[in-house]
């Protein structure tokens, strides 16, 4: 069994106004990996590359150890895919979708699909266009979860969904993860969901992978040093990952909070960073391009 469910090596992809060059990423099997980054950083591009929805100029992508171009069908058969704007035909209903898609997947279970539709409260006969955006996302999730996929690949699966549903979904994923052959890679802007459930966090920005780290590192080892401007001087530069200044002082994101503590002494506030903090402090300025 592969220890990495997904390996991306030297991928190059460019759109007008956006370039992803020489990207490498490894996603471990049996874990939940959260993909975070500002809009337009390339999260959607990565997901679409894995599913061969878009072409690439260079690089290889192995999923379950198989090249995703040479074994396109076999790879996709073991992936449960959720795209942030589910694009099913508008006039189909959940029942038709199940009947039309079931035969594509060896692991498809009509019974599990019906149970998921019930659990998510999705009307079986209602046309897709008549469903609310949240309900459309839930339908996409039900389909992705119904064929016992080995990798759940989800781009913003919880956009617009409420807290209760998000929590139930994450519990559902956790249950799936008890089988260590399964893996989850999902990008989201609601980082609070990831703090509790993701084992690894990958930050992508302007088409580059900034880091891939265990969530516990970010939570326990990293820190946000808050103090007067001179506190920066006391920190050693390579440890500082991002700085923001405000009217009352500076804030420095450091990768080693205990080291920073020894450098700065007791008086300085060193907080535990939330994922939002990491994102905000590591993003240079406000460059918001169309989401890719």
């Amino acid at each position: 069994m592969e220890d990495n469910v997904l390996e991306i090596r030297g991928v190059h992809k460019s759109y007008p106004g956006f370039t992803m060059r020489d990207v490498d990423l490894v996603v471990p099997t049996g874990h939940v990996t959260g993909l975070i980054g500002p809009n337009g950083a390339g999260k959607t591009t990565l997901v679409k590359l894995v599913m061969n929805l878009i072409t690439r100029e260079a690089g290889e992508i192995d999923v379950f150890g198989l090249d995703n171009l040479l074994h396109e069908a076999e790879v996709k058969a073991r992936i449960g895919f959720v795209y942030d704007e589910p694009n099913f035909p508008h006039d189909v209903n959940a029942r038709d979708l199940g009947r039309a898609i079931g035969p594509f997947y060896r692991g498809w279970s009509g019974e599990r699909y019906r149970r998921l539709l019930g659990e998510f409260g999705i009307p079986v006969r209602k046309r897709f266009k008549a469903l609310s955006k949240g309900m459309q996302m839930k339908l996409a999730l039900a389909i992705a979860l119904a064929h016992d996929a080995d990798l759940l690949l989800m781009d913003e699966p919880t956009a617009g969904l409420d807290l209760e549903f998000r929590r139930d979904l994450l519990e559902h994923l956790a249950a799936i993860l008890e089988d260590e052959r399964k893996s989850v890679l999902f990008s989201t802007h609601v980082t609070s969901d990831l703090e509790r459930f993701a084992d690894f966090i990958t930050l992508i920005r302007d088409g580059e992978i900034v880091f891939s780290l265990p969530t516990s590192d970010l939570r326990d080892a990293w820190g946000v040093v808050k103090g007067a401007a001179d506190v920066l001087a006391r920190l050693d530069a390579p440890d500082v990952r991002g700085v923001r200044t405000g009217p009352h002082g500076v804030e420095a994101l450091v990768a080693n909070a205990s080291l920073a503590r020894t450098k700065c002494g007791p008086g300085v506030v060193i907080d535990r960073p939330s994922l939002d903090d990491v994102l905000v402090l590591m993003t240079r300025g406000d460059s918001y391009v169309e989401s890719h």
């Binding site: 061969n52 929805l53 878009i54 396109e72 069908a73 795209y83 035909p89 009947r99 039309a100």
Partner: protein, 225 residues
């Protein structure tokens, strides 16, 4: 592959039913004028209606940009293209045969077939083959809107040429060219006889579809969904 066609049939069944029923009306519409039309016209009309079926499916998928969803299914991109061709032939051809067969139940329609049946069928098949061979690569490359603009563009071009020819007196030049093509086909038909001619046409349509299928696969491989 067949799953893809089956998916289109299930998900697109309402569109197919609506368009399909229009093809069923063909025999009745044609019999309204007191003097029955030549069978080729009847077959071409039914053929045209039937080719609308696969085209409407492709249009629907294009409109909802559902191709990305199709491509996320465990199929290769080539499968998707191939399923459009096979699906096109299977749906359009199958329904056309059904409608023509049903038409035979009505005696008035049966009489139509008394003369020129072979030519009519050949004409129908050719139209089917041409439409599929053109529509699929065009929509893959330019999308449905692209196709419509293309068709409109062709007509405009035709008019411009026609007017240009009129103005420059070259009209009879064009007329002669067209006549000579028709004569050549006619003499070829004479030489090889109806059967030989039919084989040639069918071979030509098949070749055209094969080339179109190859081109579509190459185009689709480079498209970002």
């Amino acid at each position: 592959m067949w799953n893809l066609i089956r998916k289109d049939l299930i998900l697109g069944r309402w569109t197919l039913i609506v368009n399909g029923s229009m093809a069923l009306l063909a025999p009745f519409i044609l019999l309204i004028p007191d003097e029955p039309p030549p069978v080729i016209l009847y077959v071409l009309y039914v053929g045209l209606m039937c080719t609308m079926l696969p085209v409407s499916l492709i249009a629907k998928e294009d409109k909802f940009s559902a191709t990305a969803f199709t491509c996320s299914l465990p199929v290769t991109r080539d499968d998707i293209v191939t399923s459009r061709y096979l699906g096109g032939w299977f749906i359009a051809g199958g329904w056309m045969a059904a409608v023509l067969a049903l038409g035979l139940l009505a005696p008035a329609v049966r009489d139509l077939w008394s003369n020129g049946a072979g030519g009519a069928l050949l004409g129908g098949l050719t139209m089917l083959g041409l439409t599929i061979a053109i529509v699929i690569p065009f929509t893959i490359r330019f999308g449905m809107n692209g196709l419509l603009f293309g068709l409109v563009g062709l007509q405009v071009l035709g008019m411009v040429l026609f007017i240009g020819a009129l103005a420059t007196g070259g009209l009879d030049g064009i007329e002669r060219a067209v006549k000579s093509v028709i004569d050549a086909v006619g003499s070829y038909h004479e030489r090889v006889g109806p059967a030989g001619f039919a084989v040639t046409v069918i071979f030509g349509v098949a070749l055209l579809n094969w080339v179109s299928w190859k081109a579509s696969r190459r185009i689709f491989r480079t498209r970002d969904l």
